[in-house]
């Protein structure tokens, strides 16, 4: 039995890129939610959480509308990169991002808010700008929880199925992630391949979650 390992590598690549993007965007959104008062804050909070509760098909549909070849974003992408976004591995990244971002924002916001306010007051009192305060005090103090959240987001973006299928499709060797490959193997009666892939995914996820749990308790 020859197992094609491409889906595993693709999934890992998708997870790394989407976690990276989710980290950059999520940190910023979490900071806004934790520190600023602005109109529509509750709406932003709800919108970020929405992907956690909507069915994957609904998310996939929205994404197709949003980044499909006929949409403004899709057109812009094609204009810049010369090829469509949908039904490429990059679309799988977008799909995974949709799952990673809510997890990251939720946990990071909680982590930032749990930092003792007196440290932030002390930093401001000592003349630190909000920027310096965030990078040198708040984030380092929330570091472990943020890293744990990132690990969780990584594990989650490894396993998306529904949305990926809708926006990236199931093109073996190009957009077939491991979750899709397992579905494919089961459908085509290739039980042994399915079993191996299932075990591999479970092992990787278990490893990451153990790591995340180790990170969670803070040293301070």
């Amino acid at each position: 039995m020859a197992i094609d390992w491409f889906p595993l590598w693709l999934s890992l690549r998708v997870a790394v890129v989407s976690t990276g993007l989710a980290f950059a965007g999520g940190l910023w959104i979490a900071y806004l939610l934790a520190n600023r008062e602005f109109r529509g804050k509750d709406l932003l909070d709800a919108a970020v959480t929405l992907p956690l509760v909507l069915p994957p098909t609904v998310l996939g549909y929205y994404l197709l509308v949003l980044i499909g070849r006929a949409s403004p974003i899709g057109k812009l992408w094609e204009e810049i990169f010369g090829s469509p976004l949908v039904f490429t591995w990059k679309a799988a990244v977008v799909a995974a991002l949709l799952h990673a971002l809510p997890l990251l924002v939720k946990s990071t916001r909680a982590a930032l808010e749990s930092v003792d306010r007196n440290y932030e007051r002390a930093a401001r009192n000592l003349g630190a700008s909000e920027w310096k305060l965030f990078w040198r005090v708040t984030l380092p103090l929330a570091r472990r929880s943020v890293l744990a959240a990132t690990a969780l987001a990584f594990a989650r973006s490894l396993g998306d199925f529904g949305v990926t299928l809708m926006v990236a499709g199931n093109i073996p060797g190009r957009t077939q992630t491991i979750a899709v490959a397992i579905y494919d193997a089961v459908e085509s009666g290739n039980g042994q391949v399915a079993r191996v892939l299932v075990l591999v995914v479970s092992a990787v996820a278990l490893l990451i979650l153990t790591l995340a749990n180790r990170l969670s308790p803070s040293r301070f």
Partner: protein, 356 residues
């Protein structure tokens, strides 16, 4: 010099009564103590000066800088106020070493000066050896000194201290007072210290402001306030004053005397300006101003008979509680002399009687 007038109202909520802070005071060189029971609004005053909260109205002036002006809508950010702040639990950054804590604070100084300034402060506050350790790895005294050094490193115009000695054991408390005295002699920074500990006021304070339910009820040197509490509230805050209901029988400004009817007994006090014969007043006197004797025969001037209810040991001596509600504080030695007498008299020093 700090001049502050501020007002802030907190509307009543289902789980808490409303509260209004309304104070006006100034603080010059040396230590000014803001004294009052918990919930009097002491910390709110510090937080308003530091810019952590915004008052509803008023004006805060530090030397020539306007930190806050309600009418002119000036409200400087905490970063721009240049007030050092020593937090109750010090708030040293736990992920930085003591040196890094100081460096963080020194970054607003010119680049060339920083290193020298950090070294200087580490030396001044005896932190050179522990400079490379994190706050949780050093002693309480070192944490204390580091938090003061960190607050002073930016050369603030004012040092705010929020109950920094609360919850410390006695030796650490003394160490802290020592550090503050050092600050007083080596730096010119005026200090505003919040505390609910009367001993601390006497240890450190040149000037004392008594805060009660959001208002300053009395100000002056600590000893003067303890001698002349302005009213019943102040007496209660200062703790354990004896309060007697009395009626003024005679007043003699010429000989500076008065006669007071307390129950069925008479006391002789000083002349009380602003009061009239026949006024019903409350007389305050501290337990340590009273003396207690064994009774032999009839009562002398300014003596009240006392039936001893109990004698309570205190760190400073013995506190005698009498059935008529009066308490007297005696040294252990003078209590030893009395201990077998059942029949006692309480001696009131006439000149120390105060109307509250």
């Amino acid at each position: 010099m700090l001049q502050a007038r501020l007002r802030k109202t907190f509307a009543p909520k289902p789980d808490s009564a409303g509260f209004t802070l309304d104070v006006e005071f100034s603080a010059t060189a040396g230590v000014t103590v803001l004294f009052g029971p918990s919930g009097a609004g002491k910390t709110l005053v510090l937080e308003s000066i530091a810019g952590f909260i915004r008052p509803d109205e008023g004006r805060i002036l530090l030397d020539d800088d306007i930190l806050y002006d309600g009418a002119a809508r000036v409200h400087l950010a905490p970063q721009q106020r240049n007030c050092g702040y020593v937090f109750q639990n010090y708030a040293l950054f736990p992920h930085m070493t003591l040196r890094e804590n100081l460096q963080f604070a020194a970054e607003r100084r010119p680049r060339l000066e920083r290193h020298r300034r950090v070294t200087e402060m580490l030396e001044k506050f005896r932190l050179v050896e522990s400079a490379g350790r994190h706050p949780h790895e050093v002693s309480g005294g070192q944490r204390q000194r580091c938090s003061i050094a960190r607050a002073l490193i930016g050369a603030p115009k004012l040092l705010l201290l929020d109950e920094p000695a609360t919850g410390l054991d006695a030796p650490l408390r003394q160490e802290f007072y020592e550090a503050l005295r050092q600050v007083r002699s080596e730096f010119e920074t005026p200090m505003l210290l919040v505390t609910h500990d009367l001993d601390e006021c006497f240890e450190l304070g040149e000037e004392m402001l008594v805060l009660h339910e959001g208002k300053i009820v009395q100000s002056g040197p600590p000893a003067a306030i303890l001698d002349h509490p302005a009213n019943l509230d102040v007496a209660r805050i200062l703790g354990s004053f004896n309060v007697l209901e009395a009626e003024i029988k005679t007043l003699d400004p010429g000989r500076n005397t008065s006669r007071l009817q307390v129950g069925e007994f008479e006391l002789e006090g000083p002349y009380f300006p602003g009061h009239l014969k026949g006024d019903r007043v409350r007389i305050g006197i501290r337990p340590e101003q009273l003396t207690v004797h064994a009774r032999n025969g009839r009562l002398d001037k300014n003596q009240l008979p006392g039936e001893l209810l109990r004698a309570v040991e205190t760190p400073r001596g013995v506190r005698l509680e009498f059935s008529n509600g009066i308490a007297a504080a005696l040294s252990r030695a003078s209590y030893e002399i009395l201990r077998d007498n059942r029949d006692l008299v309480i001696q009131f020093p006439g000149e120390s009687l105060r109307i509250l």
